[in-house]
Amino acid sequence: MTEKKHHTAHHGKKKGEADKEWEPKIVGFLCNWCSYAGADLCGVSRFQYPTNIRLVRVMCSTRVSPHLVLEVFEAGADGILIGGCHLNDCHYMTGNFHTEKRVNLMKKLLREAGIDEGRLRLEWVSASEGEKFSKVVTEFTEEIQKLGQSKVHADDMVKAKVAAADDASETFRLKALVGKEFNLLDKGNAYGDKLDPEKFRGIIDAATEDEFERALILELARIRPMSVKQLGMVMDTPTDRILRHIVLLRQNSKIAMEHPEGFTPVYKTVAIGGEQ
C-alpha cells in the first residue's frame, strides 16, 4: 500500500486544558435530502438537544467512507453520528444500502481498535422526523458522556490502533468485499447464486481482523523495529498469527527484516513502496 496522506492536523493538548470539565465532541454527518432536512425540521419545531454535536452536510450518507470516520476518530472526536434516509427512501436510490454495509465494517474496525462501537451511530432520519432527530442526538450525547473521553490523544497505543483501523479500511481487500456485498447478497454472484449473508459477514469479519492486525503491525513497526514476540505482546495476539502476517507483509515488501539480534529477528516497516 502506498503511504497514505493524513489530512488531519492533530492538535496537541494545550496547557490547563485538563482542568476544564470534559465536554463530549461529537460530529454528525447528515445526508442532504432526509436527515439534514429532519435536523432542520427539528429546529423549525424547536425540539431542543445538547449543544455538543457539530453537523456536516453531505449529499448522501454513502459519501461517509470508513476512512473519513476513522480519520475523525483519529482527530479526537468522542462520537460520530451518521444520518441517512430510511432504507428505500434514498434520494440516490441505493446509497444508504451501501452506507449500511460500510457502517458494519466501521463498527468491526472500531471493535478491533478497542474503541467502543457505541461511539459510532447510524440512524435513518426522514425529513419529517424532527423530533426523532432531537431524541437521537440527546440519547447519543448521553451515551458518549457515559463512554467518556476518547483516549486517542491520551494513549499512543489507542492512537496507533485507530490509525491501523483507518489503513485497514483503505485496503483493496476490504474495499472489494464491502463494495460488492450489497450486490452479491442482493443480486447474486458470478454463478448466479445468492450468498448467505451470515457466511459473507463471517468472511468480511475475518478479513477485517487480518487487515487490521497487518496494518497495526505496520503502524507499530514504523516507530521502531519489533520482533514477533514483542508485537504479539503489545497487540495481545498469538505469535503464530503475527508471524503469518509478517510472512505476507514481507512478500508484499511492506515490512523488512532487520539484522537479527541474537535469535530474535526484528522487523521494520518499509517507509516507501509496497505494491506498485
Binding site: D89, Y92, G130
Partner: protein, 1012 residues
C-alpha cells in the same frame, strides 16, 4: 424563433403533486408557467401524507425536492391564495383574470422565520393537520411550505398588532388588499385535485359524534411524525394507544345512497398502508380492514397486500359494515357487520373511515368560468382516447380531477397534460422564458483565499439566542477572512446588493453565510455571488438557525460557541473550495420510440407535433399493437378504427420515420447522444429513447382445458369471435385471475375484470336470455369502471366468488365443458356446463424486452416488466437519464392510462430534446487516472450507470475507468468504494470534509473569544 401568435406560457391550476409535475416539465422545456393555487402554499394532499404505498416512502422526503425546485424555478411564477375569476380568448391565447386574496404579509419581505406565529396570541385549529392540531392566526400551512411566506387568517385575526411588532422585516401589512391581475397564457392545465367525502353523511358510522371515529386523512396526520401525536397512534378521546383498529372501506364510494356510485380507486391501498404503518409504530396494535373487494390493482400492489396479511398479520374481513356504536363508558366502538350471511359485532379502540374522493368544491365554478364540461359525477369530463383533454380546446386536465387516482397515475398524467399543453403552443417555445445573463467569471486561480462572512440575525430568530455581533467579530479573527459583517436578514434584497458590493470592495473570492439552511437558501446566495462574478461553488453556509439557535434556545452561551464553531468549520471548508464547472453536453434533438402500439404511436405523434424528428420502430408488420386485439372498449369506441386512424396520422407525419417489421439490435450512448442499430442494419442517432414495447395476453396452456377444448378461450380470443359473430351459445362462464395473483405471478393484471364486464355486457346485449357467470376473487373495476360492473349486474350477469386458494374445477364430459366452483358466500358447490368457458388471463411482458434492458442499462421487475426510477414520483423515467418507459411495458393498464403514459414520456423527453445543450451537475465525481487501476469495484455502486471499465484495445491487462459526467448525480457512493483513492467528489472532497472536522474539533475558541 418562428413568428407565432401563440403565447409561450401555460397556466397550471392547482399546486398539488400533479400541478408541480406539469409545471416543472413545462418550465424545463422552454415554457413560462403560472402555477395558481388556492391555498397560501403549494403541496396539496400529498404534503399531508405520512408515507406512500407500495414502497412506504416518506411522502415529504420525496416531495420536498420537487416543492423546492418549483419554488425557485426561474420560469415558474407561483400565484398563491388565488382563484380564477374569468377566462377569455381561445387555445393558444387565453387571458386569465386571477384574484389573489390578501395574505396581509408582504411576500417580498417575509423571510419565513416564524417569529410572528410564535407570539401570535390567537390559536385556531390547523387545517393541514385536519384540525388535529393548533395553529396561530398568522401561519404557514406546514413547516416545509413553498413559498415560505406567512399569512394572516383574516377570519381569526383580532388585529392586536403583536405580529407586526415582532416582525423585524416589517413584512406584516394589515391593510393589504386583494389584487386582481390578467395573465396571458397559451394553454391551461387543470389539476385542482379532489375533496374528501364528508363522512358525516354516513351517519351510521358516527363520524363527528364519536371522538374515536376518524377519517383516513386524519389518521394519516396521526401517523405522521409532524402530526398531533408525533407519530404515536392515539385515541382522540383519551390519548390511549388503541389495541384494535377497524378500517372501514368504501365510505362515500360505491354507494348510490350518497350519490357516489364510482370507486375511489385509492382507498384499499391507502388503508393497507395505514394499517401497516400503524402496526410498525406500535407492534401490538391489531388492525382489521373491512372491505367489499380488495382493489390492489396497481404495479406490485398485490404483493403489498400479501405482505400486509402474511408478514404484518393484518386481518381482512370481506363485509360492508352496517353500523358503528360507541360504548359510552370506554369510548370503544362496536362495529356491526355481516360475514358470510352471519351477523357479527366486534369492539375496537379506534375506527378509521376510508373516505372516498369527491370532485373539488370549486369544480362547478371552475367549469363555468373556464368553459369545460363535468361528467355526471362532477369530475372533469375526458375520453378514453384523449385522457388528458378537457372538452375545451387548449384546456387540459390531470390527476384526481378527471377521475379518482393514485399518485403514480397522477404524476404520469401531469406530465401527459404538460405534453399536450406544450404541443398546443409548440411554436412559441422559448419565447417567454428568461435566461439569466451573468458577468464573466472572475479568475481566482493562484489567489490566496479572501473570505467574506455574513452573519444573519434572522430578526430575533438567531440574534435572540446567539450573540451575533460576537460571532461576526470572531469570524474576522479567522485566517483568510477578509471581511465579516452582521445583517438583520442576510436573505433580504438589500443585503444581496451589499454582498455584491463587499465582494468588489474587499476583493473577496469566497463567501460564507451563517444563517439558516442551505436546503432552501443556498441557491439564493449562490446566485448573488454569481452576479458578482464569482463561481457559484465558491459559497458555503453555516446553519446557525435551524441547527443552532432554534435547538439551543435556552443555552445562549453554548449556542454562541457552537455558532462560532460552525462558522469556523464553514470558513475552513471555504478555504479549500474551488470553482466547479457545469459541463455542457450537446444534445441530438431527435427521438427514438420503440413500439408501435397505441402508446408508441401517441408518443411519436406528440413528439412530431412539437417539431421533433422521430424514429418509430415496430417489430410487427403493422402498426397498432394490442389495439388490434381488443375488439371492444367498454366505453364504446372501436379500437381497430382508432388504430387505423393513428397509423394513418403517423404515416402522413413528415417528422416520423416508421421502421416496420424491424427489431432493435443495439442502442449505445447516453442522454442526448444515443446511437441505434436495427436488425436490418440501419443506424440513426437520437437524444432520448421511449420504450413502449407493450405486453401480451398470457396463453394459459394446460390450465382449465385451454388448448384442449375448442370452447375454452382466453378473453381476447373470445372477444375476437364475438366481434366476428362466431359465438353461438346460451351459457357462458368467465374465470378471473387466470395466471394472475398466484405463485410466480403474484400481481393483478388490472384490466381483466373490466374486460370481462365488457364482454359480458355485449353477450347480454345480443342475447338477453344468455346465462353469464363470472367466477372471481375480487372485482376490480376501479374508478368510473364501476359503472360497467353495475351494468353487467343489472343485465343479469351472475357473480360467484371463489376462495383465493380453491380454484374452480374444469372437466370435459361428453365433449362439454363442466365447471365446478365452491361459492364462497354460501359454501355450496355450483356446477355449470357452459357453451363457452372464457379465461380472463393476465398480462405478461414480451420476452424481447429482456434484450433491451442491458442495452440501455435499465432494470426490470422480477415479472419482466420494466422498472421505473421511482414507483411513486418518477413513473415513466428510468434512473438512466434520457430513457423513458410507457404503456404495458411498465405494467398492465388500460388504454387511456397507456396513452397518458405515452404522452408523459413525451413531456419528460422534451425536457431534454428542447435544449441544444444540457447542463450537468457541478457536484460530481472525478477520477484521477494516474491512481486508478481499473479494478471496477466502484462500478456496481453507481445507480446511474455513469461508471464503466474500459479495457485497453492494445493491452488487455490495462483497464481504466470511464466516468460519464453527464450521468453522474453526485451522491459520492463510488468515492467510498474506491480502494486506490482515485475517485473524489467535487465540492465534498476528503480534504474539504476533514478540514471541517479539524475545525470542529479545535479547542482554542476561548483563546480567541472576544470580550463582549
Amino acid at each position: 424563433m418562428a413568428a407565432t401568435d401563440k403565447i409561450g406560457a401555460v397556466m397550471v391550476v392547482g399546486g398539488g403533486i400533479s400541478g408541480l409535475q406539469s409545471a416543472l416539465d413545462l418550465a424545463d422545456s422552454g415554457f413560462k408557467v403560472y402555477l395558481v393555487e388556492k391555498q397560501p402554499s403549494i403541496g396539496g394532499t400529498m404534503a399531508q401524507l405520512d408515507k406512500t404505498f407500495p414502497t412506504n416512502d416518506c411522502a415529504m422526503c420525496i416531495m420536498a425536492p420537487k416543492l423546492v425546485s418549483t419554488g425557485r424555478h426561474h420560469n415558474i411564477t407561483l400565484v398563491t391564495n388565488a382563484e380564477i375569476m374569468a377566462v377569455d380568448g381561445q387555445a393558444g391565447d387565453f387571458k386569465v383574470t386571477v384574484k389573489q386574496r390578501a395574505l396581509r404579509v408582504d411576500a417580498s419581505k417575509c423571510t419565513g422565520c416564524g417569529s410572528c406565529a410564535q407570539k401570535c396570541p390567537i390559536e385556531t385549529s390547523d387545517e393541514y393537520n385536519e384540525n388535529t392540531k393548533i395553529r396561530k392566526a398568522i401561519y404557514v400551512r406546514y413547516p416545509q411550505a413553498v413559498p415560505l411566506v406567512y399569512s394572516i387568517d383574516h377570519d381569526k385575526c383580532i388585529g392586536c398588532g403583536i405580529c407586526a411588532e415582532e416582525c423585524k422585516a416589517g413584512a406584516v401589512v394589515y391593510d393589504q388588499k386583494e389584487s386582481t391581475s390578467e395573465i396571458q397564457v397559451g394553454s391551461i392545465i387543470l389539476s385542482p385535485g379532489f375533496d374528501e367525502f364528508d363522512a358525516r353523511l354516513k351517519g351510521e358510522y358516527g363520524y363527528g359524534v364519536y371522538k374515536n371515529v376518524v377519517t383516513s386523512i386524519e389518521f394519516e396526520r396521526m401517523l405522521s411524525a409532524t402530526g398531533p401525536y408525533f407519530g404515536t397512534v392515539m385515541r382522540p378521546s383519551d390519548g390511549d394507544i388503541p389495541e384494535k383498529i377497524a378500517f372501514i372501506q368504501c365510505v362515500g364510494s360505491r354507494d348510490e345512497q350518497v350519490g357516489n356510485a364510482y370507486c375511489s380507486g385509492v382507498c384499499c391501498m391507502y388503508s393497507i398502508k395505514e394499517a401497516i404503518i400503524a402496526k410498525e409504530h406500535g407492534g401490538d396494535i391489531q388492525p382489521k380492514i373491512f372491505f367489499m373487494d380488495m382493489r390492489a390493482f396497481g404495479k406490485e400492489f398485490d404483493e403489498y397486500y400479501n405482505r400486509a396479511q402474511n408478514e404484518y398479520g393484518i386481518e381482512f374481513v370481506r363485509s360492508r359494515v352496517a353500523s358503528v356504536f360507541e360504548n359510552p363508558e370506554t369510548k370503544n366502538l362496536v362495529v356491526k357487520y355481516v360475514e358470510k350471511g352471519e351477523p357479527k359485532e366486534e369492539e375496537f379502540g379506534l375506527v378509521v373511515l376510508a373516505v372516498g374522493l369527491r370532485p373539488p368544491e370549486d369544480a362547478v365554478a371552475l367549469s363555468k368560468v373556464i368553459g369545460f364540461e363535468l361528467n355526471a359525477d362532477g369530475f372533469c369530463q375526458t375520453t378514453v382516447l384523449d385522457p388528458v383533454n378537457s372538452s375545451k380546446q387548449g384546456v387540459f386536465v390531470s390527476g384526481a380531477f378527471s377521475s379518482p387516482k393514485d399518485i403514480p397515475m397522477t404524476v404520469a398524467e401531469a406530465s401527459g397534460a404538460a405534453a399536450k399543453a406544450a404541443t398546443e403552443i409548440a411554436s412559441a417555445r422559448d419565447s417567454l422564458v428568461t435566461k439569466k445573463e451573468y458577468p464573466e467569471e472572475l479568475d481566482i486561480s493562484g489567489k490566496e483565499p479572501r473570505i467574506g462572512v455574513f452573519v444573519c440575525h434572522c430578526g430575533i430568530n438567531i440574534g435572540g439566542v446567539v450573540k451575533v455581533p460576537s460571532v461576526a467579530e470572531y469570524a474576522r479573527t479567522l485566517p483568510n477572512v477578509a471581511y465579516a459583517e452582521e445583517n438583520l436578514y442576510t436573505c433580504s434584497q438589500d443585503t444581496q446588493e451589499k454582498i455584491k458590493e463587499m465582494i468588489k470592495e474587499h476583493d473577496l473570492n469566497r463567501v460564507v453565510v451563517a444563517s439558516c439552511t442551505p436546503r432552501t437558501h443556498e441557491p439564493l446566495f449562490q446566485n448573488t455571488i454569481k452576479e458578482a462574478g464569482l463561481n457559484s461553488y465558491l459559497f458555503e453556509m453555516a446553519n446557525i438557525r435551524d441547527q443552532c439557535s432554534w435547538i439551543h434556545m435556552h443555552e445562549a452561551e453554548a449556542a454562541t460557541k457552537k455558532a462560532k464553531d460552525l462558522v469556523r468549520m464553514a470558513v475552513a471548508k471555504s478555504r479549500l473550495l474551488e470553482p466547479l464547472e457545469n459541463l455542457m453536453i450537446d444534445v441530438n434533438q431527435k427521438a427514438l420510440v420503440v413500439g408501435g402500439g397505441a402508446t408508441g404511436m401517441a408518443a411519436a405523434l406528440e413528439l412530431a407535433k412539437q417539431g421533433v424528428k422521430v424514429n418509430l420502430v415496430e417489430k410487427e408488420k403493422e402498426l397498432g399493437g394490442n389495439l388490434r386485439k381488443l375488439h371492444y372498449l367498454p366505453s364504446g369506441e372501436d379500437p381497430e378504427e382508432f388504430a387505423d386512424s393513428l397509423a394513418k396520422e403517423v404515416a402522413s407525419n413528415p417528422n416520423i420515420t416508421v421502421h416496420i417489421g424491424k427489431g432493435v439490435k443495439d442502442i449505445e450512448g447516453y442522454v442526448g447522444n444515443f446511437k441505434t442499430t436495427l436488425d436490418s442494419g440501419e443506424t440513426f442517432e437520437h437524444g432520448t429513447v421511449i420504450l413502449a414495447v407493450g405486453a401480451q395476453e398470457y396463453k394459459p396452456e394446460g390450465e382449465y382445458l385451454y388448448g384442449k377444448n375448442p370452447n375454452v378461450l382466453t378473453l381476447l380470443e373470445f372477444k375476437e369471435k364475438l366481434k366476428k359473430g362466431e359465438v353461438k351459445g346460451d351459457s357462458y362462464v368467465f374465470i378471473q385471475c387466470v395466471g394472475s395473483r398466484e405463485e410466480g405471478h403474484p400481481n393483478c393484471s388490472r384490466v381483466c375484470c373490466t374486460g370481462t364486464m365488457t364482454a359480458a355486457i355485449k353477450i347480454k346485449e345480443k342475447n338477453p336470455d344468455a346465462k353469464v357467470y363470472v367466477l372471481y376473487r375480487d372485482i376490480r373495476t376501479y374508478g368510473f369502471r364501476e359503472e360497467y360492473y353495475k351494468a353487467a349486474a343489472e343485465k343479469g350477469v351472475t357473480f360467484v366468488r371463489f376462495e383465493d386458494d380453491v380454484k374452480p374445477k374444469v372437466e370435459e364430459t361428453g365433449g362439454k365443458v363442466q365447471v365446478t366452483v365452491t361459492d364462497e358466500d354460501t359454501g355450496k358447490e355450483v356446477v355449470m356446463t357452459p357453451d363457452y368457458l372464457v379465461l380472463a388471463s393476465g398480462t405478461r411482458p414480451y420476452t424481447e424486452s429482456e434484450a433491451l434492458a442491458p442495452m440501455l442499462k435499465v432494470p426490470m421487475t422480477k415479472e419482466g416488466f420494466f422498472l421505473e426510477a421511482h414507483m411513486k414520483l418518477r413513473p415513466v423515467d428510468f434512473a438512466t437519464e434520457g430513457v423513458y418507459l410507457a404503456g404495458l411495458a411498465h405494467g398492465p393498464k388500460f388504454l387511456d392510462e397507456s396513452i397518458g403514459q405515452g404522452l408523459a414520456a413525451v413531456a419528460r423527453a422534451m425536457t431534454i430534446l428542447s435544449k441544444k445543450t444540457l447542463e450537468a451537475e457541478g457536484i460530481v465525481a472525478s477520477v484521477d487516472e494516474t491512481l486508478c487501476d481499473g479494478c471496477g469495484i466502484c462500478v456496481p455502486t453507481c445507480e446511474y450507470k455513469a461508471l464503466e471499465i474500459i479495457v485497453d484495445k492494445k493491452d488487455e491487462t490495462k483497464k481504466s475507468l470511464d466516468l460519464n459526467i453527464g450521468l453522474c448525480k453526485g451522491c459520492g457512493a463510488c468515492v467510498g468504494a474506491c480502494p486506490s483513492g482515485a475517485l473524489t467528489q467535487k465540492g465534498f472532497r476528503d480534504e474539504q470534509i476533514v478540514a471541517m472536522i479539524d475545525a470542529a474539533l479545535e479547542d482554542d475558541v476561548e483563546k480567541q473569544e472576544v470580550r463582549q
